[in-house]
Protein backbone atom coordinates (compact mmCIF):
# COMPACT_ATOMS: atom_id res chain seq x y z
CA UNK A 1 0.00 0.00 0.00
CA UNK A 2 1.35 3.41 -0.94
CA UNK A 3 2.18 5.86 1.82
CA UNK A 4 -0.24 8.45 0.39
CA UNK A 5 -3.09 5.94 0.43
CA UNK A 6 -2.39 5.10 4.08
CA UNK A 7 -2.39 8.79 5.03
CA UNK A 8 -5.64 9.47 3.12
CA UNK A 9 -7.35 6.44 4.69
CA UNK A 10 -6.17 7.46 8.17
CA UNK A 11 -7.41 11.03 7.69
CA UNK A 12 -10.81 9.85 6.41
CA UNK A 13 -11.17 7.41 9.30
CA UNK A 14 -10.18 10.12 11.76
CA UNK A 15 -12.77 12.49 10.30
CA UNK A 16 -15.35 9.73 10.40
CA UNK A 17 -14.76 9.09 14.12
CA UNK A 18 -14.72 12.82 14.85
CA UNK A 19 -18.02 13.24 13.00
CA UNK A 20 -19.51 10.30 14.91
CA UNK A 21 -18.49 11.76 18.27
CA UNK A 22 -19.78 15.24 17.39
CA UNK A 23 -23.02 13.89 15.95
CA UNK A 24 -23.66 11.62 18.94
CA UNK A 25 -23.00 14.58 21.20
CA UNK A 26 -25.46 16.73 19.24
CA UNK A 27 -28.12 14.00 19.28
CA UNK A 28 -27.68 13.42 23.03
CA UNK A 29 -29.02 16.96 23.59
CA UNK A 30 -32.37 15.84 22.13
CA UNK A 31 -34.84 13.31 23.49
CA UNK A 32 -33.24 10.51 21.44
CA UNK A 33 -32.08 7.72 23.77
CA UNK A 34 -29.87 5.74 21.35
CA UNK A 35 -27.71 8.73 20.54
CA UNK A 36 -24.52 6.73 19.90
CA UNK A 37 -26.28 4.51 17.37
CA UNK A 38 -28.11 7.47 15.81
CA UNK A 39 -24.83 9.38 15.55
CA UNK A 40 -23.20 6.37 13.87
CA UNK A 41 -26.07 5.88 11.40
CA UNK A 42 -26.12 9.51 10.29
CA UNK A 43 -22.32 9.55 9.98
CA UNK A 44 -22.15 6.32 7.98
CA UNK A 45 -24.94 7.58 5.69
CA UNK A 46 -23.00 10.80 5.09
CA UNK A 47 -19.76 8.86 4.57
CA UNK A 48 -21.39 6.56 1.99
CA UNK A 49 -23.03 9.51 0.21
CA UNK A 50 -19.68 11.28 -0.08
CA UNK A 51 -17.96 8.02 -1.08
CA UNK A 52 -20.37 7.52 -3.99
CA UNK A 53 -20.11 11.16 -5.07
CA UNK A 54 -16.29 10.88 -4.97
CA UNK A 55 -16.53 8.82 -8.17
CA UNK A 56 -17.19 12.09 -9.99
CA UNK A 57 -13.59 13.03 -9.24
CA UNK A 58 -12.18 9.64 -10.18
CA UNK A 59 -12.52 5.96 -9.32
CA UNK A 60 -11.20 5.33 -5.80
CA UNK A 61 -11.29 2.73 -2.99
CA UNK A 62 -13.97 4.63 -1.02
CA UNK A 63 -16.33 4.50 -3.99
CA UNK A 64 -15.57 0.81 -4.49
CA UNK A 65 -16.22 0.13 -0.81
CA UNK A 66 -19.62 1.90 -0.98
CA UNK A 67 -20.51 0.10 -4.20
CA UNK A 68 -19.62 -3.36 -2.88
CA UNK A 69 -21.37 -2.68 0.42
CA UNK A 70 -24.51 -1.64 -1.47
CA UNK A 71 -24.50 -4.76 -3.64
CA UNK A 72 -23.87 -7.05 -0.66
CA UNK A 73 -26.53 -5.48 1.56
CA UNK A 74 -29.03 -5.43 -1.32
CA UNK A 75 -28.49 -9.13 -2.02
CA UNK A 76 -28.90 -10.02 1.66
CA UNK A 77 -31.91 -7.74 2.03
CA UNK A 78 -33.78 -9.21 -0.96
CA UNK A 79 -32.90 -12.75 0.10
CA UNK A 80 -34.41 -12.21 3.56
CA UNK A 81 -37.33 -10.30 2.10
CA UNK A 82 -38.03 -13.05 -0.41
CA UNK A 83 -38.22 -15.58 2.41
CA UNK A 84 -40.37 -13.52 4.80
CA UNK A 85 -42.68 -11.88 2.30
CA UNK A 86 -43.11 -14.54 -0.38
CA UNK A 87 -42.58 -17.87 1.38
CA UNK A 88 -43.81 -16.94 4.86
CA UNK A 89 -46.19 -14.17 3.78
CA UNK A 90 -47.79 -15.71 0.71
CA UNK A 91 -47.13 -19.46 0.64
CA UNK A 92 -47.24 -20.80 4.20
CA UNK A 93 -50.69 -19.32 5.01
CA UNK A 94 -52.03 -21.33 2.09
CA UNK A 95 -50.43 -24.71 2.75
CA UNK A 96 -50.67 -25.39 6.47
CA UNK A 97 -52.50 -24.03 9.49
CA UNK A 98 -49.86 -25.48 11.83
CA UNK A 99 -46.99 -23.81 9.99
CA UNK A 100 -48.98 -20.57 9.86
CA UNK A 101 -49.34 -20.64 13.63
CA UNK A 102 -45.63 -21.43 14.00
CA UNK A 103 -44.65 -18.43 11.87
CA UNK A 104 -47.40 -16.30 13.46
CA UNK A 105 -49.06 -15.47 10.16
CA UNK A 106 -52.84 -15.72 9.71
CA UNK A 107 -53.91 -18.93 7.96
CA UNK A 108 -55.91 -18.31 4.77
CA UNK A 109 -58.47 -21.09 4.67
CA UNK A 110 -59.60 -21.63 1.12
CA UNK A 111 -63.15 -22.47 0.09
CA UNK A 112 -61.81 -24.93 -2.45
CA UNK A 113 -63.37 -27.94 -0.73
CA UNK A 114 -61.97 -31.12 0.87
CA UNK A 115 -60.97 -34.48 -0.49
CA UNK A 116 -60.41 -37.26 2.07
CA UNK A 117 -60.27 -34.59 4.75
CA UNK A 118 -57.47 -32.71 3.01
CA UNK A 119 -58.01 -29.08 1.97
CA UNK A 120 -57.56 -28.93 -1.81
CA UNK A 121 -55.99 -25.49 -1.51
CA UNK A 122 -53.20 -26.89 0.68
CA UNK A 123 -52.41 -29.50 -1.96
CA UNK A 124 -52.52 -27.09 -4.90
CA UNK A 125 -50.06 -24.75 -3.21
CA UNK A 126 -47.53 -27.58 -2.84
CA UNK A 127 -46.84 -27.15 -6.56
CA UNK A 128 -45.17 -23.73 -6.19
CA UNK A 129 -42.74 -25.37 -3.72
CA UNK A 130 -41.92 -28.06 -6.26
CA UNK A 131 -41.43 -25.43 -8.98
CA UNK A 132 -39.22 -23.42 -6.61
CA UNK A 133 -37.00 -26.44 -5.95
CA UNK A 134 -36.86 -27.11 -9.70
CA UNK A 135 -35.69 -23.52 -10.27
CA UNK A 136 -32.86 -23.97 -7.77
CA UNK A 137 -31.66 -26.98 -9.83
CA UNK A 138 -30.12 -24.33 -12.06
CA UNK A 139 -27.16 -24.41 -9.67
CA UNK A 140 -26.45 -28.02 -10.62
CA UNK A 141 -24.36 -28.62 -13.74
CA UNK A 142 -25.98 -32.04 -14.34
CA UNK A 143 -29.62 -31.22 -13.60
CA UNK A 144 -29.70 -27.55 -14.61
CA UNK A 145 -32.08 -28.38 -17.47
CA UNK A 146 -34.86 -29.05 -14.94
CA UNK A 147 -35.02 -25.33 -14.13
CA UNK A 148 -36.17 -24.61 -17.68
CA UNK A 149 -39.62 -26.07 -17.00
CA UNK A 150 -40.71 -23.71 -14.21
CA UNK A 151 -38.97 -20.87 -16.04
CA UNK A 152 -41.07 -21.64 -19.12
CA UNK A 153 -44.17 -21.62 -16.92
CA UNK A 154 -43.22 -18.22 -15.47
CA UNK A 155 -42.52 -16.72 -18.90
CA UNK A 156 -45.69 -18.20 -20.39
CA UNK A 157 -47.93 -17.05 -17.54
CA UNK A 158 -46.44 -13.55 -17.50
CA UNK A 159 -46.71 -13.24 -21.27
CA UNK A 160 -50.32 -14.45 -21.21
CA UNK A 161 -51.32 -12.10 -18.39
CA UNK A 162 -49.53 -9.09 -19.85
CA UNK A 163 -50.69 -9.73 -23.40
CA UNK A 164 -54.35 -9.20 -22.53
CA UNK A 165 -53.74 -6.18 -20.34
CA UNK A 166 -51.30 -4.46 -22.72
CA UNK A 167 -53.57 -5.15 -25.69
CA UNK A 168 -56.48 -3.53 -23.88
CA UNK A 169 -54.75 -0.57 -22.21
CA UNK A 170 -51.75 0.16 -24.40
CA UNK A 171 -53.19 -0.69 -27.80
CA UNK A 172 -56.99 -0.54 -28.06
CA UNK A 173 -57.41 2.31 -25.56
CA UNK A 174 -54.50 4.24 -27.08
CA UNK A 175 -55.85 3.87 -30.61
CA UNK A 176 -59.23 5.00 -29.31
CA UNK A 177 -57.61 8.03 -27.62
CA UNK A 178 -56.04 9.03 -30.93
CA UNK A 179 -59.44 9.45 -32.59
CA UNK A 180 -59.96 13.02 -31.44
CA UNK A 181 -62.44 15.55 -32.86
CA UNK A 182 -60.37 17.96 -34.94
CA UNK A 183 -62.84 20.78 -34.31
CA UNK A 184 -63.03 20.25 -30.56
CA UNK A 185 -65.85 18.71 -28.57
CA UNK A 186 -68.51 21.35 -28.89
CA UNK A 187 -68.20 22.83 -32.37
CA UNK A 188 -71.30 24.88 -33.11
CA UNK A 189 -70.03 26.99 -35.96
CA UNK A 190 -67.27 29.43 -36.85
CA UNK A 191 -69.22 32.41 -35.54
CA UNK A 192 -69.56 30.94 -32.05
CA UNK A 193 -65.92 29.89 -32.14
CA UNK A 194 -64.75 33.45 -32.89
CA UNK A 195 -67.05 35.07 -30.36
CA UNK A 196 -65.85 32.72 -27.59
CA UNK A 197 -62.21 32.81 -28.62
CA UNK A 198 -59.95 32.38 -25.59
CA UNK A 199 -56.37 31.35 -24.92
CA UNK A 200 -57.42 29.53 -21.75
CA UNK A 201 -55.91 26.03 -21.40
CA UNK A 202 -59.38 24.47 -21.33
CA UNK A 203 -60.71 26.69 -24.14
CA UNK A 204 -61.88 25.60 -27.58
CA UNK A 205 -58.86 27.02 -29.44
CA UNK A 206 -56.28 25.22 -27.29
CA UNK A 207 -58.29 21.99 -27.50
CA UNK A 208 -58.45 22.18 -31.29
CA UNK A 209 -54.70 22.87 -31.50
CA UNK A 210 -53.95 19.98 -29.11
CA UNK A 211 -56.09 17.60 -31.15
CA UNK A 212 -54.38 18.66 -34.38
CA UNK A 213 -50.96 18.10 -32.79
CA UNK A 214 -52.04 14.57 -31.79
CA UNK A 215 -53.39 13.86 -35.27
CA UNK A 216 -50.40 15.23 -37.19
CA UNK A 217 -47.92 13.82 -34.66
CA UNK A 218 -49.27 10.27 -34.89
CA UNK A 219 -49.72 10.40 -38.66
CA UNK A 220 -46.25 11.78 -39.42
CA UNK A 221 -44.61 9.62 -36.75
CA UNK A 222 -46.04 6.51 -38.39
CA UNK A 223 -44.89 7.70 -41.82
CA UNK A 224 -41.31 8.02 -40.51
CA UNK A 225 -41.36 4.32 -39.60
CA UNK A 226 -42.86 3.26 -42.94
CA UNK A 227 -39.93 2.00 -44.97
CA UNK A 228 -41.75 0.36 -47.91
CA UNK A 229 -41.81 3.66 -49.79
CA UNK A 230 -38.90 6.02 -50.41
CA UNK A 231 -39.02 9.13 -48.21
CA UNK A 232 -39.21 11.71 -51.01
CA UNK A 233 -41.64 14.46 -52.00
CA UNK A 234 -44.69 15.03 -49.78
CA UNK A 235 -44.08 11.66 -48.13
CA UNK A 236 -40.53 12.71 -47.27
CA UNK A 237 -41.73 16.04 -45.87
CA UNK A 238 -44.28 14.26 -43.65
CA UNK A 239 -41.47 11.94 -42.54
CA UNK A 240 -39.35 15.01 -41.63
CA UNK A 241 -42.24 16.31 -39.52
CA UNK A 242 -42.41 12.85 -37.94
CA UNK A 243 -38.74 12.97 -36.93
CA UNK A 244 -39.25 16.45 -35.44
CA UNK A 245 -42.13 15.10 -33.37
CA UNK A 246 -39.89 12.26 -32.17
CA UNK A 247 -37.06 14.66 -31.33
CA UNK A 248 -39.38 16.92 -29.34
CA UNK A 249 -40.64 13.84 -27.46
CA UNK A 250 -37.09 12.74 -26.68
CA UNK A 251 -36.27 16.28 -25.60
CA UNK A 252 -39.20 16.30 -23.18
CA UNK A 253 -38.06 12.92 -21.82
CA UNK A 254 -34.51 14.25 -21.41
CA UNK A 255 -35.82 17.32 -19.59
CA UNK A 256 -37.81 15.15 -17.21
CA UNK A 257 -34.78 12.90 -16.67
CA UNK A 258 -32.62 15.91 -15.77
CA UNK A 259 -35.32 17.07 -13.36
CA UNK A 260 -35.43 13.62 -11.76
CA UNK A 261 -31.66 13.40 -11.32
CA UNK A 262 -31.44 16.92 -9.90
CA UNK A 263 -34.19 16.02 -7.41
CA UNK A 264 -32.13 13.08 -6.19
CA UNK A 265 -29.06 15.32 -5.81
CA UNK A 266 -31.19 17.84 -3.91
CA UNK A 267 -32.29 14.99 -1.63
CA UNK A 268 -28.72 13.95 -0.84
CA UNK A 269 -27.39 17.49 -0.38
CA UNK A 270 -30.35 18.34 1.85
CA UNK A 271 -29.48 15.27 3.95
CA UNK A 272 -25.85 16.34 4.24
CA UNK A 273 -26.72 19.94 5.18
CA UNK A 274 -29.69 19.17 7.41
CA UNK A 275 -29.24 15.80 9.10
CA UNK A 276 -25.45 15.57 9.13
CA UNK A 277 -24.01 19.09 9.30
CA UNK A 278 -27.18 20.72 10.71
CA UNK A 279 -26.47 24.00 8.92
CA UNK A 280 -30.06 24.35 7.68
CA UNK A 281 -33.27 23.81 9.63
Amino acid sequence: MKKTAIIVTAVVMGLFILSWVLKANAVSATAESNYILRGFLVTIAAFLTLSVLSFLYKDNPFYKFAEHLFVGISAAFWMCLGFWSTIVGNLIPRISEGLSNAFKVPYIGGDWGNVLGIDIMNVVFIFPIIFGVMLIMRLSSNYGWISRWPLALIVGTTAGLNFVRYLQSDFIQQVSSTFVPLLGNNWTGFGDFLSNLSLDASGQLVLILANWVIFIGVFCGLIYFFFSKEHTGAFGKASRVGIWILMITFGASFGYTVMGRISLLVGRITFLFKDWLEIIS
Binding site: M259, G260, I279
Partner: protein, 313 residues
Protein backbone atom coordinates in the same frame (compact mmCIF):
# COMPACT_ATOMS: atom_id res chain seq x y z
CA UNK B 1 -33.75 53.15 1.23
CA UNK B 2 -35.21 51.34 4.21
CA UNK B 3 -36.19 48.41 2.02
CA UNK B 4 -32.66 48.26 0.73
CA UNK B 5 -31.29 48.05 4.26
CA UNK B 6 -33.78 45.31 5.08
CA UNK B 7 -32.12 42.97 2.61
CA UNK B 8 -31.60 39.72 4.45
CA UNK B 9 -28.53 37.56 4.80
CA UNK B 10 -30.31 34.97 2.69
CA UNK B 11 -30.79 37.48 -0.15
CA UNK B 12 -27.10 38.39 0.01
CA UNK B 13 -26.29 34.68 -0.18
CA UNK B 14 -28.54 34.30 -3.22
CA UNK B 15 -26.95 37.29 -4.98
CA UNK B 16 -23.41 36.07 -4.28
CA UNK B 17 -24.33 32.55 -5.48
CA UNK B 18 -25.80 33.89 -8.71
CA UNK B 19 -22.74 36.07 -9.32
CA UNK B 20 -20.42 33.11 -8.69
CA UNK B 21 -22.42 30.74 -10.92
CA UNK B 22 -23.03 33.04 -13.86
CA UNK B 23 -19.60 34.69 -13.59
CA UNK B 24 -18.12 31.21 -13.69
CA UNK B 25 -20.19 30.30 -16.72
CA UNK B 26 -18.99 33.43 -18.51
CA UNK B 27 -15.40 32.45 -17.69
CA UNK B 28 -16.16 28.99 -19.04
CA UNK B 29 -17.57 30.44 -22.27
CA UNK B 30 -14.53 32.65 -22.79
CA UNK B 31 -12.18 29.77 -22.03
CA UNK B 32 -14.05 27.51 -24.44
CA UNK B 33 -14.04 30.13 -27.20
CA UNK B 34 -10.26 30.32 -26.80
CA UNK B 35 -10.32 26.56 -27.50
CA UNK B 36 -8.94 25.65 -24.06
CA UNK B 37 -9.88 22.32 -22.53
CA UNK B 38 -12.62 22.27 -19.88
CA UNK B 39 -12.40 19.40 -17.42
CA UNK B 40 -15.70 17.53 -16.90
CA UNK B 41 -15.23 17.93 -13.14
CA UNK B 42 -15.68 21.69 -13.51
CA UNK B 43 -19.17 20.99 -14.83
CA UNK B 44 -19.89 18.84 -11.75
CA UNK B 45 -18.77 21.70 -9.48
CA UNK B 46 -21.12 24.11 -11.25
CA UNK B 47 -24.06 21.73 -10.83
CA UNK B 48 -23.18 21.20 -7.16
CA UNK B 49 -23.03 24.95 -6.49
CA UNK B 50 -26.26 25.53 -8.45
CA UNK B 51 -28.04 22.91 -6.32
CA UNK B 52 -26.39 23.65 -2.95
CA UNK B 53 -26.69 27.46 -3.01
CA UNK B 54 -30.52 27.59 -3.15
CA UNK B 55 -30.66 24.98 -0.36
CA UNK B 56 -28.46 27.14 1.88
CA UNK B 57 -30.08 30.41 0.79
CA UNK B 58 -33.63 29.41 -0.21
CA UNK B 59 -35.08 30.83 -3.41
CA UNK B 60 -38.83 30.30 -3.71
CA UNK B 61 -41.02 30.49 -6.78
CA UNK B 62 -44.76 30.80 -7.17
CA UNK B 63 -46.31 27.70 -8.67
CA UNK B 64 -49.79 27.29 -10.08
CA UNK B 65 -51.30 23.91 -10.83
CA UNK B 66 -51.48 22.90 -14.48
CA UNK B 67 -54.53 21.07 -15.87
CA UNK B 68 -52.86 17.68 -15.59
CA UNK B 69 -52.09 18.18 -11.87
CA UNK B 70 -55.43 19.82 -11.18
CA UNK B 71 -57.06 16.65 -12.54
CA UNK B 72 -55.91 14.72 -9.45
CA UNK B 73 -56.55 17.65 -7.10
CA UNK B 74 -60.08 18.28 -8.40
CA UNK B 75 -61.00 14.61 -8.28
CA UNK B 76 -60.08 14.39 -4.57
CA UNK B 77 -61.69 17.77 -3.92
CA UNK B 78 -64.98 16.85 -5.58
CA UNK B 79 -65.47 13.37 -4.13
CA UNK B 80 -68.10 13.35 -1.38
CA UNK B 81 -66.72 13.16 2.19
CA UNK B 82 -66.30 9.57 3.31
CA UNK B 83 -65.16 8.34 -0.10
CA UNK B 84 -62.64 5.53 -0.04
CA UNK B 85 -59.26 6.23 -1.60
CA UNK B 86 -56.39 3.78 -1.90
CA UNK B 87 -52.89 5.26 -1.94
CA UNK B 88 -50.11 2.92 -2.99
CA UNK B 89 -46.51 3.76 -2.10
CA UNK B 90 -44.63 2.04 -4.89
CA UNK B 91 -41.20 3.56 -4.46
CA UNK B 92 -37.90 3.29 -2.60
CA UNK B 93 -35.68 5.76 -0.73
CA UNK B 94 -33.81 6.60 -3.94
CA UNK B 95 -37.03 7.92 -5.48
CA UNK B 96 -38.40 9.38 -2.24
CA UNK B 97 -37.10 12.98 -2.57
CA UNK B 98 -39.19 13.29 -5.72
CA UNK B 99 -42.38 11.45 -4.87
CA UNK B 100 -42.72 11.48 -1.08
CA UNK B 101 -43.83 15.16 -1.15
CA UNK B 102 -46.68 14.11 -3.47
CA UNK B 103 -47.69 11.29 -1.14
CA UNK B 104 -47.70 13.65 1.86
CA UNK B 105 -49.69 16.38 0.12
CA UNK B 106 -52.27 13.98 -1.35
CA UNK B 107 -52.71 12.18 2.01
CA UNK B 108 -53.20 15.49 3.83
CA UNK B 109 -55.66 16.71 1.21
CA UNK B 110 -57.70 13.50 1.26
CA UNK B 111 -57.90 13.42 5.06
CA UNK B 112 -58.79 17.10 5.23
CA UNK B 113 -61.68 16.44 2.84
CA UNK B 114 -62.93 13.69 5.14
CA UNK B 115 -62.08 10.79 2.86
CA UNK B 116 -61.02 7.40 4.13
CA UNK B 117 -57.61 6.17 3.06
CA UNK B 118 -56.18 2.70 2.58
CA UNK B 119 -52.39 2.82 2.51
CA UNK B 120 -50.46 0.00 0.87
CA UNK B 121 -47.29 -0.75 -1.03
CA UNK B 122 -46.17 -3.04 -3.83
CA UNK B 123 -42.54 -2.30 -2.98
CA UNK B 124 -40.95 -3.73 0.15
CA UNK B 125 -39.03 -0.49 0.61
CA UNK B 126 -42.25 1.49 0.27
CA UNK B 127 -43.59 0.28 3.59
CA UNK B 128 -41.03 2.24 5.63
CA UNK B 129 -41.72 5.36 3.58
CA UNK B 130 -45.44 4.81 4.09
CA UNK B 131 -44.82 4.75 7.84
CA UNK B 132 -42.92 8.02 7.47
CA UNK B 133 -45.98 9.67 5.90
CA UNK B 134 -48.13 8.34 8.74
CA UNK B 135 -45.68 9.67 11.35
CA UNK B 136 -45.02 13.07 9.77
CA UNK B 137 -48.39 13.91 8.22
CA UNK B 138 -51.29 11.79 9.38
CA UNK B 139 -50.59 11.46 13.12
CA UNK B 140 -49.38 15.01 13.92
CA UNK B 141 -51.68 16.93 11.56
CA UNK B 142 -54.83 14.85 11.95
CA UNK B 143 -54.83 13.60 15.55
CA UNK B 144 -58.63 13.37 15.48
CA UNK B 145 -58.57 10.77 12.71
CA UNK B 146 -58.99 7.18 13.89
CA UNK B 147 -57.01 4.24 12.59
CA UNK B 148 -59.26 1.56 11.03
CA UNK B 149 -62.09 4.10 10.64
CA UNK B 150 -60.48 6.98 8.74
CA UNK B 151 -57.35 5.27 7.53
CA UNK B 152 -55.71 1.88 7.55
CA UNK B 153 -52.26 0.64 6.64
CA UNK B 154 -52.40 -2.78 4.97
CA UNK B 155 -48.68 -2.69 4.23
CA UNK B 156 -46.58 -4.43 1.63
CA UNK B 157 -47.43 -7.57 -0.28
CA UNK B 158 -45.01 -9.45 -2.53
CA UNK B 159 -46.21 -10.51 -5.96
CA UNK B 160 -46.06 -7.40 -8.16
CA UNK B 161 -48.72 -7.53 -10.91
CA UNK B 162 -50.02 -10.78 -9.40
CA UNK B 163 -51.20 -8.84 -6.34
CA UNK B 164 -53.02 -6.31 -8.52
CA UNK B 165 -54.60 -9.06 -10.57
CA UNK B 166 -56.09 -10.53 -7.38
CA UNK B 167 -57.13 -7.40 -5.46
CA UNK B 168 -59.08 -6.10 -8.41
CA UNK B 169 -61.45 -8.99 -7.62
CA UNK B 170 -60.88 -9.65 -3.90
CA UNK B 171 -58.76 -7.79 -1.33
CA UNK B 172 -58.85 -10.49 1.31
CA UNK B 173 -57.21 -13.10 -0.92
CA UNK B 174 -54.01 -11.05 -0.83
CA UNK B 175 -54.44 -8.99 2.32
CA UNK B 176 -56.22 -11.10 4.94
CA UNK B 177 -54.94 -8.68 7.60
CA UNK B 178 -53.55 -5.18 7.90
CA UNK B 179 -49.86 -4.52 8.54
CA UNK B 180 -50.25 -5.35 12.24
CA UNK B 181 -52.09 -8.65 11.63
CA UNK B 182 -55.54 -7.21 12.39
CA UNK B 183 -58.03 -9.15 10.22
CA UNK B 184 -59.61 -7.00 7.51
CA UNK B 185 -63.05 -8.34 8.46
CA UNK B 186 -62.76 -6.61 11.84
CA UNK B 187 -61.71 -3.25 10.35
CA UNK B 188 -64.70 -0.87 9.89
CA UNK B 189 -63.16 0.72 6.79
CA UNK B 190 -63.31 -2.68 5.07
CA UNK B 191 -66.89 -3.59 6.07
CA UNK B 192 -68.36 -2.92 2.63
CA UNK B 193 -65.18 -3.21 0.69
CA UNK B 194 -64.55 -6.42 -1.19
CA UNK B 195 -62.28 -5.39 -4.02
CA UNK B 196 -60.68 -2.39 -5.70
CA UNK B 197 -63.90 -1.95 -7.67
CA UNK B 198 -65.55 -0.71 -4.46
CA UNK B 199 -63.05 2.14 -4.17
CA UNK B 200 -63.84 5.68 -5.27
CA UNK B 201 -60.32 6.44 -6.37
CA UNK B 202 -56.83 4.96 -6.50
CA UNK B 203 -53.64 6.98 -6.34
CA UNK B 204 -50.45 5.17 -7.23
CA UNK B 205 -47.22 6.95 -6.39
CA UNK B 206 -43.97 5.57 -7.74
CA UNK B 207 -41.86 5.34 -10.82
CA UNK B 208 -40.60 1.81 -11.23
CA UNK B 209 -42.10 -1.60 -11.89
CA UNK B 210 -44.61 -2.42 -10.50
CA UNK B 211 -45.88 1.11 -10.26
CA UNK B 212 -48.46 3.50 -11.65
CA UNK B 213 -48.39 1.93 -15.12
CA UNK B 214 -49.20 -1.52 -13.74
CA UNK B 215 -51.99 -0.03 -11.62
CA UNK B 216 -53.54 1.44 -14.77
CA UNK B 217 -53.14 -1.79 -16.73
CA UNK B 218 -54.25 -4.29 -14.11
CA UNK B 219 -56.68 -2.34 -11.91
CA UNK B 220 -57.71 1.06 -13.28
CA UNK B 221 -58.72 -0.02 -16.77
CA UNK B 222 -60.28 -3.45 -16.09
CA UNK B 223 -62.07 -2.21 -12.96
CA UNK B 224 -63.02 1.16 -14.49
CA UNK B 225 -61.77 2.88 -11.33
CA UNK B 226 -60.70 6.55 -11.39
CA UNK B 227 -56.92 6.64 -11.10
CA UNK B 228 -54.53 9.44 -10.24
CA UNK B 229 -50.80 8.92 -10.52
CA UNK B 230 -47.75 10.58 -9.02
CA UNK B 231 -44.57 9.55 -10.76
CA UNK B 232 -40.84 10.14 -10.74
CA UNK B 233 -39.89 12.56 -13.50
CA UNK B 234 -37.98 9.93 -15.48
CA UNK B 235 -41.11 7.90 -16.22
CA UNK B 236 -43.62 10.76 -16.45
CA UNK B 237 -43.53 10.89 -20.29
CA UNK B 238 -44.56 7.21 -20.37
CA UNK B 239 -47.71 8.00 -18.38
CA UNK B 240 -48.89 11.02 -20.38
CA UNK B 241 -50.59 8.93 -23.12
CA UNK B 242 -52.99 7.65 -20.42
CA UNK B 243 -54.21 11.16 -19.65
CA UNK B 244 -57.09 12.06 -19.58
CA UNK B 245 -58.99 8.88 -20.50
CA UNK B 246 -57.24 6.29 -18.33
CA UNK B 247 -55.93 8.51 -15.53
CA UNK B 248 -57.62 11.63 -14.15
CA UNK B 249 -54.31 13.43 -13.71
CA UNK B 250 -50.55 13.07 -13.38
CA UNK B 251 -48.08 14.56 -10.93
CA UNK B 252 -44.79 14.41 -12.82
CA UNK B 253 -41.66 14.70 -10.70
CA UNK B 254 -40.96 17.37 -8.15
CA UNK B 255 -42.66 19.99 -10.34
CA UNK B 256 -45.93 18.06 -10.08
CA UNK B 257 -45.47 17.81 -6.32
CA UNK B 258 -44.80 21.55 -6.05
CA UNK B 259 -47.89 22.38 -8.09
CA UNK B 260 -50.07 20.12 -5.93
CA UNK B 261 -48.66 21.57 -2.68
CA UNK B 262 -49.20 25.08 -3.98
CA UNK B 263 -52.84 24.37 -4.93
CA UNK B 264 -53.50 22.71 -1.57
CA UNK B 265 -51.90 25.44 0.54
CA UNK B 266 -53.66 28.15 -1.52
CA UNK B 267 -57.10 26.64 -0.91
CA UNK B 268 -56.63 25.52 2.70
CA UNK B 269 -55.17 28.40 4.68
CA UNK B 270 -54.79 26.30 7.85
CA UNK B 271 -52.01 24.42 6.05
CA UNK B 272 -50.10 27.51 4.91
CA UNK B 273 -47.31 26.73 7.39
CA UNK B 274 -47.05 23.06 6.51
CA UNK B 275 -43.78 21.71 5.17
CA UNK B 276 -43.74 21.93 1.37
CA UNK B 277 -40.59 20.10 0.22
CA UNK B 278 -41.78 20.10 -3.39
CA UNK B 279 -41.96 23.88 -3.49
CA UNK B 280 -38.63 24.17 -1.68
CA UNK B 281 -36.95 21.94 -4.24
CA UNK B 282 -38.03 24.15 -7.13
CA UNK B 283 -35.30 26.69 -6.27
CA UNK B 284 -32.38 24.25 -6.81
CA UNK B 285 -34.25 22.75 -9.77
CA UNK B 286 -34.63 26.09 -11.52
CA UNK B 287 -31.07 27.19 -10.96
CA UNK B 288 -29.62 23.80 -11.96
CA UNK B 289 -31.74 23.79 -15.13
CA UNK B 290 -30.53 27.28 -16.01
CA UNK B 291 -26.93 26.15 -15.59
CA UNK B 292 -27.53 23.08 -17.76
CA UNK B 293 -29.15 25.25 -20.44
CA UNK B 294 -26.09 27.54 -20.32
CA UNK B 295 -23.86 24.48 -20.80
CA UNK B 296 -25.91 23.42 -23.82
CA UNK B 297 -25.61 26.93 -25.30
CA UNK B 298 -21.85 27.05 -24.60
CA UNK B 299 -21.42 23.58 -26.13
CA UNK B 300 -23.29 24.63 -29.27
CA UNK B 301 -21.37 27.90 -29.61
CA UNK B 302 -18.09 25.98 -29.45
CA UNK B 303 -19.34 23.33 -31.88
CA UNK B 304 -20.45 25.82 -34.53
CA UNK B 305 -17.31 27.95 -34.11
CA UNK B 306 -15.05 24.94 -34.55
CA UNK B 307 -17.09 23.75 -37.54
CA UNK B 308 -16.76 27.16 -39.17
CA UNK B 309 -13.01 26.94 -38.69
CA UNK B 310 -13.04 23.55 -40.39
CA UNK B 311 -12.74 21.48 -37.20
CA UNK B 312 -15.39 19.02 -36.11
CA UNK B 313 -17.94 18.12 -38.78
Amino acid sequence: MNNFLLISLSDIGVIISLIVIFGGLLWLLIRSIKAKEVDRRIIFIFIFVAVAAPILFPITFQESATEVVKGVYDKIENLPAGSKILISFDFDPAMAPEVQPMANAISAHALEKGHKIIFMSLWATGQALLSQTLETVVLPQFPEKEEFVDYVNIGYKAGNEGVLNVIVADFRQMFPTDVNSVPLDSIPLFYNLKSCKDLDMIVSIGGGKPGPKEWVLFVGDPGNIPMGVGVAAVVAPQLYPYYPKQVVGILGGVKGAAEYESEFVKNYSKFENMDTPGLRMMGPQTLAHMVIMCFIIIGNVIFFRSRRKGGAK
